[in-house]
Symmetry: C2
Subunit: 323 residues, 2 copies
């Protein structure tokens, strides 16, 4: 089996590649070739028994998509994206990368001769939902994005579904929860604090909490996200019907619940590292975000996430802090 | 006030232009200029006191959108589209006209210097909804199109909302019901019979009913559709918030109810003109269509349609058969 990972240099891309190399197979199929593509070449993992190629390329440049699918990968993981803040900052870049490049990819797949019809797993986001929202969002709730990033994800969900319905690609878009606890250094995303108030204290550093402890949101660990991607790549897509986008399961938790989970793992010392410094701008952005979902379709299809926030913290400790 | 009508040569475009010329004003503002654009030049109506220009142009050609908005129209009605059947037949043409051309229009508006921010009324469609659907579809129901046409409309709703949110355009997308009774000759649309089983018998001709009389669908007259467009052009858009797409009110009726309405207007002779000749293909397509909506948002904003199918038939008789 030949696998292509677009956005392989990102946090999830890196973890996905690591997992694919470790498993050496996807589902029951041994992996023969692994092609990694990103704007900057992703680090090539050491792998035995499979060919790994890492390429730096801009999918939105003419001809690049065709070159990338020339090897006819059986499964394409498309994780490449301009993130939320940048898509809001630079309208044209966001649409170019998050919409046009994906359309070029779909066009390139469609242009392949013969019966080529790869599985394409696209990382969408709960950013497709914006206010006003019910307390619990069901599978049939309208996409009403409050950002350009969310708009671009929702547009591609539709495009992908249409291409799947017409038989050009075996596509599935999975709406990822906010990934928590993100490893590494703090980033500038408005959602960054959800991770940093756990990560920094467990690393002996201070963290700022810019919102009220009663803020509630929807989370899954990086490990769960990799599980979603792998399951999306292997499930029987006939069960999806024509609606090829799915909200992923997750944990609905308040910041206060996050802090209690931190206390149980890191004790009072860790909790004292979290400093509440209200930031009106961040509070206003976050107020429009989803708080909880009912993800019946995804669960019926076998997707699963952590059971509670304690488990999310435990996964972080196991996967990033060596247990 | 300067007004631009894209798709002016179509059925709704023609009726809209006729109405604008007759009124001489839009809301309380007198119309000074009326620019008509379509792939083939729309007929120029005779108009006193306002300048009417009719241009043949392809909005998807480079530079055309910029030229079209150079006159800084205050209101743009964007009705131009490749219809459902053709968008399904020719994938590339559908995306080119229904998505790319509209994006070029939005780009051209955004590229205008100064504080230019026109009202843009976009004709979307209930084709954004596909199966499985509830019996009555609410305002928060997800767009799950079952056709490329519906997909393209839903993608533009998202793009338009995003551009409105960011302050580039004062946009509003209205999801039109199936327009009934369409005047003129039968077309090849799968929905054509909903109109022809009324229109043909009232014109002394036979009509074919390809589906079961218990098929139920969502209708509004051409007159109501023009009313939606005019109201969308003049309402206080601050009341829309960031969600710039709205399902329009209409009449939910079964084919049997259509036929009863026909009987009340045209008598038994007219009803005998309707021949039930089941067509499995059409029946299967229509089975996935919306049956009824709850359009609270649109009604709260002042949009209104006919009260029942009798009124829809009456409107046809008044507007097309001279009463």
């Amino acid at each position: 089996m030949r696998i292509l990972v677009l956005g392989a240099a990102g946090m999830l891309g890196g973890k996905l590649v690591e997992r694919l190399v470790r498993d050496g197979r996807l589902g029951s199929a041994p992996i023969s070739d692994l092609a990694l593509v990103d704007r900057v070449a992703a680090e090539r993992p050491r792998a035995r028994g499979l060919v790994v190629e890492s390429t730096a390329a801009d999918l939105a440049e003419p001809g690049v998509a065709a070159a990338i699918v020339a090897g006819r990968p059986d499964v394409i993981f498309h994780l490449a994206a301009v993130v939320s803040g940048e898509a809001e900052e630079d309208l044209e870049k966001g649409y170019r990368v998050n919409v046009d490049a994906t359309r070029m990819l779909l066009d390139a797949v469609r242009a392949c001769e013969g019966s080529y019809r790869p599985r394409l797993v696209f990382s969408s986001s709960i950013a497709v939902f914006g206010p006003p929202l019910p307390d619990v969002i069901g599978d049939d709730h309208a996409a009403t994005p409050a950002t350009s990033y969310g708009t671009q994800k929702a547009m591609i969900e539709l495009l992908l579904s249409d291409h799947a319905r017409r038989g050009f690609v075996d596509g599935i878009a999975i709406r990822l929860p906010t990934i928590c606890v993100r490893p590494g250094t703090p980033n500038l995303a408005a959602s960054g604090f959800f991770s940093s108030i756990i990560r920094e204290p467990l690393n002996g550093q201070d963290a700022v909490l810019p919102v009220s402890p009663d803020v509630q949101h929807w989370f899954a660990s990086p490990r769960a996200a990799i599980g979603f991607l792998l399951h999306a790549a292997t499930l029987d897509s006939a069960r999806l019907g024509d609606r090829r986008f799915l909200t992923m399961p997750g944990v609905s938790a308040t910041v206060a619940e996050e802090i209690e989970a931190l206390r149980r793992v890191g004790g009072e010392d860790a909790v004292r590292r979290v400093h509440h410094e209200p930031d009106e701008t961040i509070a206003r952005i976050v107020a429009g975000w989803p708080r909880a979902f009912e993800t019946r379709r995804a669960q019926a299809l076998g997707f699963s996430a952590e059971a509670d926030f304690d488990e999310i913290v435990r996964v972080y400790v196991e996967d990033e802090l060596g247990g």
